[in-house]
Amino acid sequence: MISVLIIGGIHIGTKRIRKYICLCLAAFLFLNACQTKTDSSSDIKADLIVFTSADESIYKPIIKEFMERTGLSINVITGSSTDLADRLQSGTLSNNIDVVFAIDSVMLELNRTAWLPYHAEISAFDSNPEIVNDGAWIPLYHLPIVIMYNKWLVTSEEIPTGFESLLSDQWKGKIAFISPNDSEISAYALLISNNIIGNIGEYTKKLIKNLEYQTYDSNQTLNSSIETGHMYLGISSEDNAYSLTKNNPNINYIYPNEGTFIITYGSAISNECTNTDTARSFIDFISSEDVALFLSDNNHLRPARTDISAPDGLRPLSDLPQFTLPFNEIMKQYKIMLIGWNNHLNTYIPER
């Protein structure tokens, strides 16, 4: 090697250097030829590509059942509603997604032009007549927001009544709350709470203070903190609270008296879907009685189908106090609320 450099350095002649380089190259190619080629992962195209923001305990059994029944293959892409919104905005949705599954109704409604209308067994649904008639997206289940608490730590006199009561000093540092960056439930809870007190941003500021700037990242950690008594109460979805109360009699939950926000989750076919027949058969399946029954039995969710009852022990939706906001208002406030949350959290100065 050095001899080559020296030869090159004293400029004996480019022919000799070329000879060396050719020799090295030949040896390199020869040695490389000895190596068996590494298998590259083949890009196997599934029959259907589904995007979902649902928990895997919801989407995995449903996808599996569909594949078992039809023999078709599905590739699942997971992400949050915000990820989906970004994909829609950047125009990359149609490239690789055929169906969106278990996406919240705000996202579906505000992007209704992105969906291919399809009238599945719509008559069985009790959703907004506008949605039913339009058929842009199919409602699957409803999910109210609840406040759950540990019965050992929160006496019957102390049980919070609603979102505003959580700002009380007595709950300072005792509320479990998943960051709205990680949970749609938390984001919507924060959004309607701000609307309830009428001053956008004020509730966020006060809640962060009452949380003592501590947040959780998943239902598992939130549940654990309340079950172990590390936290007294927390904001969660109804299905999570219901499951927890089934397994742990010390846990209970209430619907906020100001009115709970009920998130409806649905599905839609992308209007640039390349496998429309498969997509339609998938929509037929997820809107079927079997899936509704399964969601109710297995995931303790309220099916959108009126012919399938909610899980045992759940109050009918009509009995629940509800707080509603127009979709466009929710979407407008959603990002402002998230920015406000992150700003308040980032400007946190620990108290001495």
């Binding site: 050095i2 040896a27 040695l31 190596q35 068996t36 298998d39 995995k60 059942e65 029944r69 297995n298």
Partner: protein, 546 residues
């Protein structure tokens, strides 16, 4: 260096490939064993279904017939069937509504299965055997991983119930534990290519489908080999992944060692080059510089070295050469100086020689006229000697030299009144040998003046001979007397190599100097005392004839 590097890389590659080939053979063997075991279990399952449906016993039991004998029969049937697959699976019987009726092991089996979902839904769509991977999000309270089931139809063709074989993780571990080793990764997959059983986490999960499609292959990046198998009969797939015997770390280590050795070699080459440069080039350069100084005339230059090798000897030889050259030039200068002095003296001695010769001739004739014979002889002989001495020929024959000696002896006999006898013992064949003129006269004079001083009837003899030798013949001429001999100091002076001028012995000194000038080191002069009295002085010179 480059061939060494490539050879090392090539050897590592060859070693790796041979080990991979061996692992491939092992992998194939293991895959065959796993396949056989799996197929055997599935085959037994089919036998169990046949056993349980060969008559209407099971069907009647599932239909709820309350017959104690029937219950006994079904227990026996179930017991016999469970024995066939004991340790691998449990058997459970469900009625048409999905409620558990009987199980070979109640502990793990769910008490009811939904008709609208999962296994029973799938069974409702077929009359054949169904192979089903349980859903962990549905069957949360059981360890069952896989189920093989068949619907049981009554005589009207309606579903009377379901026969289900349940496999858990331990079942697969028990079944296949001898077919793979701990470092292997074995995955059993269902018809949807969802993993049913995994012996340990896969190195790269994203490639499962790809690996199943390829059938077999290797991944050099992750250093594993794999083989897959799909059973079209029983709707399952096997993927066995085996780590290569040499890990990436080891391969990288081998390459690293190769590189380190290469760098070490480079360093050693550099050091050797440096060593040679310092130990060979530099002394040669110094020698060259010294040689240039010698060429310019500086003979004082010397090489300083402690080396014992060729370069050391070369330096010593150089030093010796310079010293010898210096010495030679100095001696040449001295010799030239002496020659110049001698020449000068000669010139001085030759001042008016003809005047002296003519004067002596006049004395001879005057003495003849006055009849004084002795003066005549003296003058005549002296004149002849003078003539001989001033002749321009440096060499004379021994005959001519003896003639001069005779003149001289005749003069000395007159002077010393014939107190000694002079004799010559010389073979005639060496009369023609040449020797420097006037070389013997001082020796004879010494005998007369010193050897025979105070002696009467002295004897002086000149004898000569030729001594043969392998190199050259030597003329040996000796002058002896029987006088008092030579004293020890004088003997030492005469026999030493480089004589210095001694007062009162100018004649002998001149003889030695003349010999040295003409013969350099090829002469010898020695003196010794004789036992019977007297002394002898011998000159050895190379034989040269006229």
């Amino acid at each position: 260096m480059i061939p060494i590097i490539f050879s090392n890389i090539f050897i590592v590659r060859i070693l790796d490939e041979s080990l991979i080939h061996r692992t491939e053979s092992e992998l194939e063997l293991q895959m065959d064993q796993i396949k056989n075991h799996m197929d055997e279990v599935f085959s037994i399952s089919e036998d169990i279904f046949k056993d349980l449906t060969k008559d209407d016993t099971t069907c009647r039991f599932m239909s709820g017939a309350a017959d104690p004998y029937l219950q006994k029969d079904i227990y026996i049937l179930l017991y016999q069937a469970a024995n066939k697959i004991y340790g691998y699976a449990t058997i459970s019987l469900y009625d048409a509504n999905g409620y558990l009726l009987l199980a070979s092991d109640n502990e793990e089996v769910p008490s009811a299965l939904p008709l609208y979902w999962g296994l029973l839904k799938k069974l409702s769509l077929t009359s054949d055997t169904v192979y089903y991977k349980t859903d962990t999000f549905v069957s949360r309270n059981t360890n069952i991983l896989y189920q093989i089931a068949r619907p049981l139809l009554n005589s009207q063709g309606k579903t009377a119930g379901y026969i289900v074989l349940n496999f858990n993780k331990d079942s697969f571990a028990h079944l296949l534990s001898n077919d793979y080793i701990a470092s292997d990764c074995l995955i059993i997959l269902d018809s949807l290519l969802e993993p049913i059983y995994t012996s340990r986490p896969l190195t790269d999960n994203s490639n499962i489908i790809s690996m199943l499609d390829h059938g077999r292959g290797k991944n050099h990046t992750e250093r594993y080999l794999y083989q897959s198998y799909r059973s079209s009969q029983y709707h399952y797939a096997i993927l066995l992944q085996k780590q290569a015997q040499i890990s990436n770390t080891s391969i990288n280590m081998m390459y690293l060692i190769t590189m380190v050795i290469t760098l070490l070699c480079l360093f050693l080459c550099f050091m050797v080059s440096l060593f040679f440069s310092r130990n060979i080039s530099r002394p040669i350069k110094h020698l060259d510089q010294a040689m240039k100084q010698v060429i310019t005339g500086d003979l004082s230059v010397r090489m300083h070295t402690d080396r014992k090798d060729e370069l050391g000897r070369l330096s010593q030889s150089f030093n010796y050469m310079a010293a010898e050259l210096d010495q030679y030039i100095k001696s040449a200068i001295t010799r030239q100086k002496n020659l110049d002095e001698t020449t000068l003296k000669l010139y001085q001695a030759q001042l008016n020689p003809h005047f002296l010769y003519n004067t002596l001739d006049s004395i001879k004739w005057l003495s003849k006229i006055s009849q004084s014979n002795e003066i005549t002889i003296l003058a005549e002989n002296l004149a002849l000697m003078l003539r001989h001495s001033i002749s321009s020929q440096p060499f004379v024959t021994l005959r001519q030299e003896l003639e001069i000696i005779r003149y001289y002896v005749e003069i000395q006999k007159i002077r010393f009144s014939g107190q000694f006898v002079f004799a010559e013992e010389i073979p005639k064949i060496i009369y023609d040998c040449l020797l420097p003129k006037m070389i013997l006269q001082p020796l004879v004079e010494n005998c007369i003046l010193h050897g025979l001083e105070g002696f009467e009837n002295g004897y002086i003899c000149i004898y000569a001979e030729i001594q043969k030798s392998s190199e050259a013949d030597i003329l040996s001429v000796s002058v002896s007397d029987d006088g008092s001999g030579i004293n020890a100091d004088m003997l030492d002076w005469l026999n030493q190599k480089d004589v210095i001028k001694k007062r009162g012995h100018l004649g002998l000194y001149n003889v030695i100097q003349i010999l040295k000038l003409y013969y350099a080191d090829n002469y010898n002069i020695s003196a010794s005392n004789l036992k019977e009295g007297g002394s002898v002085v011998t000159i050895h010179i190379p034989v040269k004839r006229s």
